[in-house]
């Protein structure tokens, strides 16, 4: 049985908790209940005929008062950087977080997610801005459910591949 720890990071209110709920429980809630500390969920997935248990650590988003709790990132195999398409600042924040995490954990797999695709007409974030980073990127809507599964499974596939590479003989 293969298990991986994955962290959801990003500024407050970008939709980290909503994405996890959509993926794990297939539900969405308009209400905003900010996450305090961390909330852990689990989802078993199967990619390329390989099963994997994702332990999803939904971390409290950063704001001016609270900083990301880096100790919760310890041991993560990958992470999901979430930005809110309606707020350009959240993308900058995501890029900043990516740097900090790389400094702390070293280069580990991650994907960038621009959420709230159902509100695309209100987006401040331009595709060109996203593309400049050259990271694997997904556009999702936790509300509509679009792109969510693809995003999680996409990261799972990256993890499985990197796991296989690390297990391969000669390494």
């Amino acid at each position: 049985m293969l298990k991986k720890k994955i962290c959801m990071v990003g500024q407050f209110g970008v939709g980290k908790t909503s994405l996890v709920r959509r993926f794990v429980d297939s539900i969405f809630d308009e209400r905003y209940l900010t996450t305090i500390g961390v909330k852990i969920d689990r989802k078993d997935v199967s990619v390329d005929g390989k099963s994997l248990t994702l332990m999803l650590w939904d971390l409290a988003g950063e704001d001016d008062l609270a900083q990301l709790n880096v100790s919760h990132l310890r041991g993560a195999s990958g992470y999901i950087l979430v930005a809110d398409g309606c707020r350009a600042s959240t993308l900058e924040k995501a890029a900043e977080l990516q740097q900090r995490i790389t400094q702390t954990l070293g280069p580990i797999p991650f994907v960038l997610v621009v959420n709230k695709a159902d509100l695309r007409d209100q987006w401040e974030v331009q595709s060109s801005q996203v593309a400049q980073y050259g990271w694997p990127t997904f556009e999702t809507s936790a509300k509509a459910g679009s792109g969510v599964e693809e995003m999680f499974l996409g990261l799972a596939a990256i993890l499985i591949r990197s796991h296989a590479a690390s297990e391969a003989p000669g390494q």
Binding site: D41, M55, E167
Partner: protein, 522 residues
């Protein structure tokens, strides 16, 4: 390569060659010279080696170098310990001191726990039941105790990878209500992070207990894994030791797998029996509270009761003793009593000394104090106290007795004081006056009866009249001599008749008399 010897002895015909050589090899010669000096000079050589030693060791960090260094290091350590053991002790103290303290604390806790447990078992009704069961079934008592007295239950055991918080292995009893153990394991790790971030804890300190209602957690830590269990009831302290031992074994057996863990947990399936072995505990956890209260009562209540009883007894007997010594004090301050000894033998108090017959009665004083008469023995020798009040009292008694020995005699049929007895009147009057004076000095008011007597001859009527007038005549004579009339009372004394009936005629004279009786003097 040219040698120094050759350089020092150039032959005269070699001169041009030497010059050529000097031209060709001059600069190199200087370099060789400097190299030669470096090689010949041991301190220079040491400097050179020192400057590259660290790098050289780093480059050769393989088993060969380690093997080469091992005996040297061992010997050096041994020498160092022998010559200056303190240095090594100081260096190791921060590591060992803490570990030793922890081990001792755990051991003591365990001991206390088992002491209270043993007490519980010794003194309860349950233990009697178990003894009976042991006799009945032929099983050893210890086995029955073990079977019946485990008051906790480990319901779930989690083996968690420390760094990732991922669940490596899990075991649960059938009865356990199992939430998703994967999430539990993650949350447990998150809680650790939370505690660690919230309060500044020293390196190596870990969250050791979590408790909610009846459920508690055992948490033990290894370098790469955490072994944790949900325990219903109150687990004995040594349960942590069982967990720690299990974890140590797993860490040892799976050191490599744990260290390089990347998410594959099937590697740890073989640890499951070890986890299942930790699902210990039987009995009803609910009973624990009552029994531990009982153990507490036995452990602390019984000695406390004994202490209270002893203290109560001590206070009570001190109060009783104080009453006895107060009584002895009072006796010794009583006029006419000299207390020479006061002691307690067995349960009886002995009071001994001297006592004037006129002094207060110790038994009466004892009664007035409310002390038990069966707990005392008095031994008082009689003596006459020189106390003025006692002397005066004694004098009063003497005067009384003297007066009561006086009498006036009368001829047959006469009540007039015969002239030959008149001279006695002054004497008796003076005696009565000093008696009155002595009595009033002691605060007493006395009364003197003048009693008239008669002999048996003659009629009763006549005799009665004779007796009365004899008393009255003496009374009147005494009043005329200054004795206050209020202190005198003339009374006929008919009772004398019977006494006088027996005597002979010549003795009857003594029956025809007037005598005195003093009233008011003891």
């Amino acid at each position: 390569m040219p040698t120094d010897g050759a350089a020092k002895r150039p032959a005269a015909d070699d001169q041009p060659l030497a010059e050529l050589r000097a031209i060709l090899l001059g600069p190199d010669r200087a370099a060789w010279e400097s190299m030669r000096q470096r090689l010949d000079n041991p301190s220079r050589r040491a400097e050179d080696v020192a400057s590259v030693l660290a790098e050289a060791v780093r480059l050769r960090s393989d088993a060969k170098l380690r093997r080469a260094l091992q005996p040297l290091l061992e010997e050096a350590l041994q020498l160092s310990v022998q010559s200056n053991p303190r240095m090594l002790a100081d260096a190791l103290f921060p590591i060992f001191g803490k570990a030793i303290r922890k081990a001792i604390t755990a051991e003591l806790d365990g001991m206390l726990q088992s002491l209270s447990h043993t007490l519980e078992q010794r003194f309860s009704w349950r233990s009697l039941r178990w003894r009976w069961e042991s006799i009945r079934t032929g099983k050893p008592y210890a086995e029955i105790v073990l079977l019946r007295s485990l008051l906790y239950r480990v319901e779930q055991v989690f083996l968690i990878h420390r760094k990732t918080g991922l669940l490596l292995q899990h075991a649960a009893t059938d009865a356990a209500e199992t939430k998703d153990p994967e999430m539990v394991s993650g949350m447990l790790t998150a809680i650790q992070d939370f505690v660690r971030d919230s309060v500044s804890v020293a390196e190596g300190e870990n969250l050791e207990t979590v408790r909610m209602g009846d459920i508690g957690m055992v948490l033990t830590y290894g370098p790469d894994a955490i072994l944790s269990g949900f325990v219903r009831g109150v687990a004995p302290r040594n349960l942590s030791r069982v967990f720690q031992d299990t974890l140590d074994t797993i860490e040892r057996e799976k050191a490599e797998a744990l260290h390089s863990f990347t998410g594959e947990t099937s590697e740890f399936d073989s640890c499951r029996p070890r986890l299942e072995a930790c699902l210990a505990g039987q009995g009803k956890p609910g009973e624990r509270k009552a029994t531990s209260r009982m153990a507490g009562a036995l452990l602390f209540g019984l000695p406390a009761l004994v202490i209270i009883a002893l203290a109560g007894w001590w206070i009570y007997s001190a109060a009783v003793e104080r009453r006895w010594s107060n009584f002895a004090h009072r006796l010794s301050s009583e006029p006419g009593i000299v207390l020479t000894s006061f002691e307690k033998r067995g349960g009886t108090h002995y009071l001994a000394g001297l006592r004037d017959p006129l002094a207060a009665d110790p038994a009466a004083l004892l009664y007035a104090e409310g002390l038990p008469s069966d707990k005392v023995t008095f031994h008082f020798e009689e003596y006459h106290s020189l106390q003025p009040s006692f002397a005066a009292q004694r004098r009063l008694v003497e005067l009384k007795e003297e007066l009561q020995r006086r009498a006036f005699r009368f001829p047959t049929g006469s009540s007039a004081i015969p002239p030959e007895q008149r001279f006695l009147l002054d004497d008796v009057a003076a005696q009565i006056l000093s008696l009155i004076k002595a009595a009033s000095a002691l605060g007493r008011t006395i009364q003197i009866e003048v009693r008239g007597n008669h002999d048996p001859a003659g009629t009763e009527q006549l005799n009665s009249m004779l007796a009365r007038s004899r008393a009255q005549n003496v009374e009147a004579a005494l009043i005329s001599l200054g004795v206050p009339a209020a202190r005198l009372a003339a009374v006929p004394e008919d009772k004398e008749r019977e006494t006088c009936a027996a005597v002979k005629e010549e003795e009857r004279l003594f029956c025809r008399s007037a005598s005195f009786r003093v009233i008011g003097v003891p």
